[in-house]
Every structure is written in structure tokens, then in C-alpha cells.
Symmetry: C2
Subunit: 289 residues, 2 copies
């Protein structure tokens, strides 16, 4: 069934494959989607051409990606975690949040944000009973123009002293270490929580397999997540990192930024708190739109 002429047509079978795939996207109505799909094909084919995966390796990649999707649900997003450990989340942050030099630096969003957190007043305790050393967090929200931003919404989420976020517990009845509040008329904010600790990113899934197979550290230095929104300003997604954490310098998700490293001050038991406690002062400065 194979005559010689037909065979010759196959002699260099894939010389034009990438061109044919690119051509298949040429009719995409949206110019931006046409650009994105064309660039995806170009770079994906370049990766495959250089990596030359065996069929077993490609099947492993397919299986890895499939399991990464299947592990994700409304409480866990393993694909965001994969994007994080490959440095892509941080790269996307860098592309979209090239903040001015006087604004607070952005960092990764991470997989543990949850919509609909409880609301707190300034001075409240948002730990929700999470285990850990008490920690008072204070600061001011302002614009890079210098004006305070009263009413700015401050969303906070963090792990407890065991290194777990509330959503990682199966049956927690209420949120812990998670909430939102609004800046006071002078732009200040103030809440109690527990002192954050370094923790391993979830390593019981495909991302954990990848990190173990590549002998990469799984720890994130201690941090508290912030997302700050204010009218006429760019939303700021960032962390405060605890100065002195031994895992600074090799954050598993490349989220560390020097300007975000801030001292957490130790306080001995006293009239305010009857056990060891900590405090941190962290200003959040937003770029105008």
C-alpha cells in the first residue's frame, strides 16, 4: 500500500509540523488569543525539540499534569503550586506589578486564598483560636503620593504555628488566621494574630514528587499574606517576611523580596499578654492607578 512516491513524502516527516500547527491557529478571531496560542506552540515545540522526550517521559508528563489537575479543588490548587515552584507565578507578578520604587513590592498569591473571609475591626484578633504565639500586626496604608488611604481593605491570611492554613484542616468549623479589615481614618491598621512560622508547601501531591526528585527544599520562610485594595490604586498582593528566618534565601516558590523582610519583635510576658508574644510594624504603600 506504500508506493515509493508516498514514502518520499514522509522521508522527513516532521520538517513542517510546527509550521502546520501554527497555521492551524492563524484563523483565531481574537488577535490576543492568536498571539498567545502561537507563542505557546512556538515555545512548547522548541522545548520538545530540545528536550527530545521519550514516549515514556511524555506519558509521565501527561500523567503528572493530569494528577495535578485532579488534586485541585476549591480548597487546594495544585496547578497554582506548580506555577509557584517553577517561578512562573513570580514571573507573572513581575510582569504585571512593576511597582514604582516607593510602592511596596508584590509577591506570589499562593494557593491558600479563600473568598469570603470574616470581617474584623481594627484591634481584633483574627487568629480564630489558631495555635501559636500571639502577634500584634500594625502599620499604615498609604499611596506613593504620601496620602493615607483610610478605608483601604486589607485581606490577611497565614499559617498557624504547625505550618498549616485553616483550609488544610478537614473539619475546621470557622476560619483561622484569615480575615479582612479596613484602614482607620488616619490610614492605620492593627490586628492580633499568631506569629507565622516557616512551613513546607504541600508535598503529598505531584509538586511534592517533583521537589523530592529534584532535591529542592520545600520550605517557605515565615510570612503573612496581605492583599490590599483601595479606590484609584493598584491592588497590592504581598507578604511580610519575618527577618532572621533560616529559610530566607531559598523560598520554595521564589516569593522572597528583600524589601519585604521585616523584624518581628519579641516581648516577654507582661500586663498586655501573659505569655511570650511578638509584634511587627509593616506599612503597605500602593501605586495610584
Amino acid at each position: 500500500m506504500c508506493d515509493d512516491a508516498a514514502m518520499d513524502a514522509d522521508a522527513d516527516p516532521d520538517s513542517d509540523l510546527t509550521a502546520r500547527v501554527l497555521a492551524s491557529f492563524a484563523g483565531t478571531p481574537s488577535p490576543r488569543l492568536r498571539e498567545l496560542t502561537s507563542l505557546l506552540v512556538k515555545h512548547l515545540h522548541a522545548f520538545v525539540a530540545e528536550a527530545r522526550p521519550t514516549e515514556a517521559e511524555w506519558a509521565h508528563a501527561i500523567d503528572f499534569l493530569t494528577r495535578t489537575g485532579q488534586l485541585s479543588d476549591d480548597r487546594r490548587q495544585e496547578f497554582i503550586l506548580l506555577s509557584d515552584v517553577l517561578g512562573v507565578s513570580m514571573q507573572v507578578i513581575g510582569i504585571n506589578h512593576a511597582a514604582s520604587e516607593t510602592a511596596t513590592a508584590s509577591t506570589v498569591f499562593g494557593p491558600f486564598f479563600v473568598e469570603g473571609s470574616p470581617e474584623f475591626a481594627n484591634g481584633d484578633d483574627l487568629s480564630g483560636g489558631a495555635p501559636g504565639d500571639p502577634c500584634l500586626v500594625t502599620g499604615h496604608i498609604r499611596s506613593t503620593t504620601g496620602v493615607p488611604l483610610p478605608g483601604a481593605r486589607i485581606e490577611v491570611w497565614q499559617a498557624d504555628e504547625t505550618g498549616h492554613y485553616d483550609v488544610q484542616y478537614a473539619d475546621l468549623p470557622t476560619p483561622q488566621g484569615r480575615g479582612h479589615l479596613f484602614a482607620a481614618p488616619d490610614g492605620s491598621y492593627r490586628f492580633w494574630t499568631v506569629r507565622p512560622v516557616a512551613y513546607p508547601i504541600p508535598s503529598d501531591g505531584p509538586v511534592g514528587e517533583l521537589l523530592r526528585a529534584t532535591a529542592r527544599p520545600v520550605m517557605r520562610p515565615a510570612h503573612i499574606h496581605f492583599m490590599v485594595t483601595a479606590p484609584a490604586h493598584r491592588t497590592l498582593t504581598t507578604h511580610v517576611f519575618a527577618a532572621g528566618d533560616p529559610h530566607l534565601g531559598h523560598d520554595a516558590v521564589f516569593g522572597e523580596r528583600p524589601s519585604l523582610i521585616t523584624p518581628f519583635t519579641h516581648h516577654a510576658p507582661g500586663p498586655t499578654v501573659d505569655r511570650d508574644w511578638y509584634s511587627v510594624d509593616f506599612d503597605l504603600v500602593l501605586d495610584p492607578l
Copy 2:
């Protein structure tokens, strides 16, 4: 909390991000895994740097990949389908099956192969009652050296006249259009099935969304899948394509190869079959290991 020195350190925050991510994989014990992860980071970061996705676009990509994993199970593999429509499956085939000029060309494996197909004898009907015009498939299995390969295992799978594979039906009690047989002592094989028709690839999932958004055709030209294994020879994964199919030239998964296009001969009702039927003769030629 942000002094000027710290701010300066962030002035060009991501100038060394890719280098830091590459460095994180430098300790990978397996040299091949180190190579694969490094190339992945290099090409993935190059894609992101050139495409400059917004955060919303990246979130859409994460969601797309997540749903692609979640739609996959033991009867459907949406990630293989994604690899297929991006031309990567065909690229991997090309890298790993650079067949000699006299061997049968390879093509995509596709998402519908199932382990453990029923065994048939030469001359049997493997349609299993699938709807369609009867079709007799014959040919010889041989080595590129010219010697016949008696006992070669021939795995066959195909869609019925509605364009569906058996595994796409929810409650089919037994396989249809799927089976394996072994080449006779002279290397010949022969089985009855139904004539394959062109069909759309599954388009109710993320891959279908992608093809619609990019105005790409979803059809595959009519074909029967073969996978042939014989001792001391390379496994051959291929299709026979039906000559004259109007979808030849724009196969949704880029699997088409000129040398695999073969006439399916029409036969009027007669003593052998009391309705219109077809036949195709398709030899399968394997490279020695």
C-alpha cells in the same frame, strides 16, 4: 519598614528570577531529570516573558489546565487530547519513531486505546455489533528486511459509523471495534469490522473550548488505529486513513501522513455480504530493533 536600600534591591526585581529557578534544580540527582527540568524552566519562562500574560490570563490558563486534568479518567484522557491538538504528540512520535524509509510511518496514539482488548482469530469480526458498513481489513506484517512476521500481535481500535469509540458510550457491556489478533504463519492478517468514518474529537471539554475559540476544525479524517508488536522489532503505532475523505489535509491532531492514505474499496451487496460493504488492504512494515 521599607528603607531606601531595600527598595533599591527590588528596583529590577525579576532580573535574575529565571537564573534563581534554574539554580534551584542544579542539585537534581538524575542528570536526565536535571536536563528536562532546566529546559522546561528555560522555555516556559521564555514563553511567559514573550507572551506577557496578565494575571487574569494566567489564572485562565491555570483553570484550563486544572479542568483538563479533572476531565481525565480511565476512559478519557483530555491531556493527551490537548497534546494531540497542539501537535506535540505527533512531534514526540517523530522524535522517537524516525522510521526507515521502507517501514510504515507512525502516527498519534490518541486518547482511546484501552488495555486488555478481546482476542480474535484471523477472519473474525471484531466490530462487536458496532453500527456501520461491514469492512474487511487484510494485509501482511513484515520486517523492512522483507521477511514476514508470523505471530506479530496486531492491536486494532476504531470509531463506529456515528464517530464514537466504544469507551465513549456510558454503558456498553462489551468492547466494539476493538481487539487484537496475531499474524498467520505467512505474516498475513484478516479481520472484519465496520468502515471507519470521519469524526469530531471530543469537544465538550477544555480542548473543545480551545478549538472553538481558535476557529479550528475538530474533525479527524476516517481511520483505523493499529499497534503492531513483534519480537526484535520496533513497536509500530499507526493508522490507515481512508483515501478520499474530505477532512484529509486538516486532521485536528496533525496525525495524517501521506503514505498511510489507502483506498477503501466499495462492494455491492452479493453472496458474501447482503449489503454494501468495503475492503482495504494495508501492509504493516516494522523496523528491526
